[in-house]
């Protein structure tokens, strides 16, 4: 038989799939709710040089399972390698690389903004536009709670920062797949 018969696989046709996606990824990781599991996941990221952008951990509807939601940059990290390394942890049950179009992702943030009397109205107006809530008012500051996508929170930050941002706390994104018809 002549090498290169159509039935055979031509070596020149073989390709390695690309490793870097170039976009932000949200990984939703179900883990066993046991001591030390977060340390295993976090330790894996640090020792393999994977940089976590945001991280949120909480219970699920099943008390024996916790969910870790983390975001990372697919332009820098080969997501496939990240998920395969995560899968090697015995306590990791399931990993979902959330598709952006099919995912609802939310983050919460608290902003403490310095608010002299003359600025208050404007800050409150921003909060209303962003459908944020005022949760604390003191003599010199207002504290605002906002929920939304990371983009929305960053936009809000740009609006209030000129007034004097005293402190900001963000939770990191959590995400859930959209329901199907």
């Amino acid at each position: 038989m002549e090498a290169g018969t159509p039935d055979l696989v031509k070596l020149e046709d073989l390709r390695v799939p690309g490793q870097l996606s170039g976009r932000k990824h949200v990984l939703s990781i179900q883990v066993e709710n046991k001591p030390g599991v977060l340390a295993r996941v976090a330790g894996l990221f640090s020792r393999r040089g994977f940089n976590i952008d945001t991280l949120a951990v909480g219970p699920t509807d099943d008390p024996s399972i916790s969910r870790i939601t983390l975001t990372l940059d697919g332009a820098v990290h080969p997501i496939d390698q990240v998920t395969k390394q995560l899968h090697k942890l015995v306590n990791v049950l399931k990993i979902r690389d959330m598709e952006p179009e099919e995912t609802v992702a939310r983050e919460m943030a608290l902003f403490k903004v310095s608010a002299a009397v003359e600025n208050r109205a404007e800050i409150i107006q921003f909060a209303e536009i962003f459908r944020a809530k005022i949760v604390d008012v003191a003599r010199r500051t207002i504290t605002i709670e906002i929920t939304g996508s990371a983009d929305k929170i960053e936009a809000f930050e740009r609006m209030v920062r000129p007034h004097g941002l005293v402190e900001m706390v963000r939770t990191g994104e959590i995400a859930i797949a959209r329901g199907h018809e």
């Binding site: 018969t5 055979l8 070596l11 073989l14 390695v16 340390a39 020792r47 899968h87 090697k88």
Partner: protein
């Protein structure tokens, strides 16, 4: 103890201490043999040597704090070389955890980066379950070390033990073993189309017990084979299809063949930097078939064109069947073999004959092969002697060559030899070592003597930490820094001090007879072989360079 018995444990290595006293009390009446080492690191490496020689899970015990931290090097070593091992450490009493109690160390936290999995017992009733899970995780999938940390109060809590009947089920742990048949078919068809294929086989073939399956596959056609350091013996070195080891100190032919190949079939190997050299210039013409049980190894360092995730023992027979069904004409490989045979002829492993009457270290390995008929188990430490042993012993069978590849642990060889001898009491177990390495765990010679585990140590004594010296010579302008051993100890007296036979040889004419005398001596023996001091290991691919830029032995005339 009942759980260990249920797992079929017959041998354990370890040292008692405060926090594991209750377990050691049970050792008195245990059904297994306990080998008391002289340092916990020795216990850990002995467990590894036992596992590598037998294929069974190696077990080591240590107490809390320093006992546990002394195990760490062995645990990391077992992780990098995928050695099935279970380490059981004592911990301070439950109520003292987190208080910096006497001999408390967070061994679970300290070892997280290099265990396959670990458990800390919080309730004595968990012990049987955790023991079974530990053995299951250690020995299945890609093997590795599992740590079980037990607070001392929980060791001595009486529990109801019911023998386990059903297999271990861990929801987050399900290794794929079969290999995707579609991928295997594509691989067979690509192989049938390759003009310059090469099999690059690693330690996974040995830990997967797939030597026979590999030999069958290679017998399907005129395929050339090279092996990593860890894979030696899976394919017979004496076969004319074998090109020798590849990598930093691999043969010219093996490395050039990888450089020129159009298809590389990687089996149970992980494209480590000691294999690839400069990654950008590694195997520039080759497509890659990568068979591995660990999906994370696929495309980690080198992109795989045809990945096959599975157990080599299951995948290789399928690949053999699919390939044979294609009835390919092996004539297409003739030009490749003409080139390979030319390289093999012109670029053999080579060393200059001795000019000063000293014993050439390479000849020590060749003589060892001769006096053992090439059938001994050979352990080694790490350095020049390790590379010479790998290059010149010519392993024909798996589980005969036991060394520390991934972590490169000096001090591994002697305790690993003890472990291997415990696993295979009827075989001759030898340890090739260097004067830099052997001293690092020499206390285990006492274990060899007192536990009646006779191993034969052949020490290549060149007065240096030879590999570091070689690097300082070649890459640091011969500025020797902290590599001279200063003529201490007197190895013969040291051996005798431990109660072993000590011999010395410095004349090449006496080498063979002295080595035979050591092997024939009763009990453990150590031979201080005075070898050429500034001998270098060749060929060598300098770190960060491509395979085709390798340096051969300067005296090799072509």
């Amino acid at each position: 103890m009942e759980s260990l018995k249920a797992e079929g444990v017959t041998n354990v290595f370890g040292i008692p201490g405060g926090a594991n006293l209750p377990m050691y009390d049970a050792v008195v009446d245990a059904d297994f043999r306990h080998v008391q080492t002289r340092h916990e690191q020795g216990a850990g490496h002995a467990a590894e040597g036992y596992a590598k020689a037998s294929g069974k899970v190696g077990v080591a015990f240590a107490t809390s704090g320093p006992g546990a931290t002394n195990l760490i090097t062995a645990i990391a070593d077992a992780m990098l070389d995928s050695v099935p091992t279970v380490f059981i450490t004592g911990q301070v009493k439950s109520h003292l955890i987190g208080t910096d109690g006497f001999q408390e160390a967070d061994i679970l936290g300290a070892t997280l980066p290099f265990v396959k999995h670990s458990f800390q017992v919080t309730d004595a009733r968990q012990i049987p379950e955790y023991v079974h899970e530990a053995f299951h995780v250690a020995s299945t999938g890609r093997p590795g070390p599992v740590l079980l940390d037990v607070p001392s109060d929980l060791f001595s809590t009486d529990i109801e033990y019911t023998p386990r009947t059903e297999p271990v089920e861990l929801p987050g742990y399900k290794p794929s073993t079969e290999g995707n048949i579609k991928q295997i078919r594509i691989a067979a068809k690509a192989l049938a189309n390759a003009r310059r294929p090469i099999f690059y086989t690693g330690g996974g073939v040995i830990s997967g017990n797939a030597s026979e399956e590999l030999r069958e596959l290679v017998a399907s056609d005129q395929f050339p084979v090279t092996s990593t350091l860890m894979g030696l013996g899976a394919f017979p070195a004496s076969s004319d299809r074998f090109l020798g080891m590849l990598g930093m100190h691999g043969t010219y032919t093996a490395n050039l063949a990888m450089d020129r190949a159009d298809l590389i079939v990687a089996i149970g190997a992980r494209f480590d930097d000691r294999i690839t050299g400069k990654l950008d210039e590694f195997a520039p013409h080759a497509k890659i078939i990568h068979v591995d049980i660990d999906p994370a190894e696929i495309s980690k360092n080198v992109g795989a064109h045809i990945p096959i995730v599975g157990d080599v023992k299951q995948v290789l027979p399928k690949l053999t069947r699919e390939y044979r069904a294609l009835q390919t004409d092996s004539g297409r490989l003739e030009a490749w073999w003409t080139q390979l045979r030319g390289w093999l002829h012109d670029h053999p492993l080579y060393y200059d004959a001795s000019t000063d009457g000293s014993i050439k270290p390479q000849s020590v390995v060749q003589t060892l092969h001769k006096v053992t008929n090439g059938e001994a188990i050979v352990t080694s430490d790490v350095g020049q002697h390790q590379m010479w042993a790998a290059q010149y012993y010519g392993f024909d069978q798996p589980r005969k060559w036991i060394n520390s590849g991934g972590l490169g642990t000096m001090g591994f060889g002697l305790p690993a030899a003890i472990g291997a001898k415990v696993a295979c009491p009827d075989q001759l177990v030898t340890c090739i070592s260097g004067d830099g390495s052997l001293i690092m765990n020499i206390q285990e010679l006492a274990t060899s003597v007192t536990e009646n585990v006779p191993v034969k140590i052949f020490l290549m004594n060149n007065g240096y930490m030879g590999m570091v010296r070689q690097w300082q010579q070649l890459f640091w302008d011969r500025r020797y820094s902290a590599v001279e051993m200063g003529g201490s100890p007197d190895w013969v007296k040291l051996a005798e001090g431990f109660g072993a036979t000590g011999l010395r040889v410095d004349d090449p004419a006496d080498l063979e007879s002295t080595m035979r005398a050591a092997i024939e001596a009763d009990g453990p023996a150590l031979v201080d072989v005075r070898v050429t001091q500034e001998e270098n290991v060749y060929p060598m691919i300098a770190p960060g360079t491509a395979a085709r830029e390798m340096t051969e032995a300067p005296g090799l005339v072509r």
